[in-house]
């Protein structure tokens, strides 16, 4: 047996934009165990439900995360709409789907950039973020915001996108498709990238199931699960299959996310072809009285919104179970028996969002 050491990783580390601490128990250069510590930036956003009414809370929900911001607003609104029995107009449902899939593209490109940065491939990092900028430009043109959009509302969406802009969006994404294919060939085929990802941090299908992994983390381990197949928003009108890989290693997690970018582009194309004319939001009166669990698929995986109303404009409870929270146990499993040098890559392959975790 080699010499045992415990070294602290984080709370601030170059690969982590947000604070999380891990106590890494090492035997020589091998990690034997990792003990997590979160809670450095807990923001008490769920508690704010006592200070803001249910309409104002839409904007707080959006601020849980700067990357999945649209989907957080959408999940919250879907719960309130379900309690109140509100039907979102079909055009509103398609617009929500378009913005949700744009969020997925920008989240995965951001993640690819961060991963390239973690193994020191700076040009790959910059090209990933250069392409991501084009998605942010589309957000700015259609919503007015680049990070927080304030476009989702209870009953539908607050803005429409005209036909000309939708066509332009498809043209931009078609151009991006070609560029992203060239870029991702490097991620998938470059020998140095493969040497850092293939066979690193393997999570078996059984372990992924046992530890409750979600999203690309679960799908890369062969679990065919994707909340979008349940047909919320406009997904019931779209043709797609969950992207699944079987190797369960860091390479597979990268492969799944890369293929989900192309899938998202295709879903947006389908939405633009099928989007009907009409209203984008339903007007309503009254307050939510009841409770509802909504599940949807964010870029990082399944998120759960639980909302409980009491008939007044102030809700009893909003609870959010974010995908990073669900994937932390799987992360700890992948860290077991890895090399110390691979710890940053493995932390990144769950695509951690600590601000989501500490909502």
């Amino acid at each position: 047996m080699g010499e045992r050491t415990v070294i602290p990783f984080g709370p601030h580390h170059p690969v982590l934009p947000e604070p999380i601490h891990l106590d890494l128990v090492l035997e020589d250069e091998k990690v034997i165990e990792a003990i997590p510590q979160i809670g450095y930036v807990h923001r008490g956003l769920e508690k704010l439900v006592e200070k803001r009414d249910f309409k104002q809370y839409t904007y707080i929900a959006e601020r849980i995360c700067g990357i999945c911001s649209f989907m957080h607003g959408m999940g919250y609104c879907m719960s309130v709409e379900s309690i109140m029995g509100l039907e979102v107009p079909e055009r509103g449902q398609f617009l929500r789907t378009i913005w949700a899939e744009l969020s997925r593209i920008h989240s995965h490109l951001l993640w690819l950039g961060l991963t390239a940065d973690a193994f020191g491939f700076e040009s790959l990092f910059m090209h990933s973020w250069r392409l991501r900028e084009k998605v942010l430009d589309l957000f700015e043109e259609t919503t007015g915001g680049r990070v927080i959009f304030s476009v989702c509302d209870v009953g539908g969406v607050r803005k429409d996108i005209d036909a000309e802009t939708l066509k332009k969006m498809v043209d931009v994404l078609t151009g991006m498709d070609k560029e992203i294919r060239e870029l991702t060939q490097v991620f998938l085929n470059d020998a140095t990238v493969k040497s850092r990802t293939v066979g690193v941090g393997v999570l078996s299908k059984e372990k992924a199931q046992e530890l409750g992994a979600v999203g690309p983390m679960a799908r890369a381990s062969g679990i065919n699960t994707d909340m979008r197949t349940q047909g919320y928003a406009a997904y019931k009108h779209l043709k797609f299959e969950p992207i699944v890989a079987t190797q369960g290693d860091s390479y597979a997690r990268m492969d799944v996310r890369i293929n989900e970018i192309f899938q998202a582009i295709d879903l947006i194309r389908q939405c633009v072809e099928l989007i009907p004319e009409g209203e984008v939001i339903t007007k309503f009166k009254g307050n939510p009285d009841g409770e509802y669990f909504t599940r949807l698929e964010q870029p990082r995986g399944e998120v759960i919104y639980y909302v409980k109303g009491n008939g007044t404009s102030f809700l009893d409870r909003v609870r959010v179970r974010t995908p990073t929270f669900a994937n932390l146990p799987a992360l700890l499993e992948t860290l077991k028996n890895c090399d110390l040098a691979d710890v940053p890559i493995l932390i990144l392959t769950i695509d951690p969002c600590i601000s989501c975790t500490e909502r």
Binding site: E210, G212, Y306, R321
Partner: protein, 116 residues
């Protein structure tokens, strides 16, 4: 409003119900807590999109068994509920003992204090 599968159980049934769901192949999706004349715990499980919630209503002083002996990864949910709501959860496999979050107020989500 779509159907929500919520089963009410008592606090002493939690281990038996959880074992039964685990053996049927369900994964633990979340544990949530709400103040509702005491504490209202919701244990959410999923198997192939079949979504089941076990609901427990209990007072602030009731002690409930941890389910970490069945789903080890429940320790994060249980620590969170214990620290934010002041729920008394026994035998959590990895018990942070109020040190998961750095909070300036003890059990900030606990409504009992406000009622007192």
């Amino acid at each position: 409003m779509g159907e929500q599968n919520i089963r009410k159980i008592s606090s002493d049934q939690i281990l038996a119900e959880t074992i039964s769901l685990k053996s049927a192949g369900y994964r633990l999706v979340a544990i949530s807590c709400t103040n509702k004349d005491g504490l209202e715990l919701s244990y959410s499980f999923d198997k192939d999109y079949d979504f089941i919630n076990l609901r427990i209503n209990m007072d602030y002083d009731t002690e409930i068994e941890s389910i970490t002996c069945i789903y080890h990864y429940a320790f994060l949910y249980e620590n969170e509920i214990a620290e934010l709501f002041g729920a008394k959860i026994k035998n959590i496999a990895v018990d942070f003992k109020d040190k998961l979050y750095r909070l300036s107020v003890k059990t900030p989500f606990n409504m009992k204090k406000e009622e007192e």
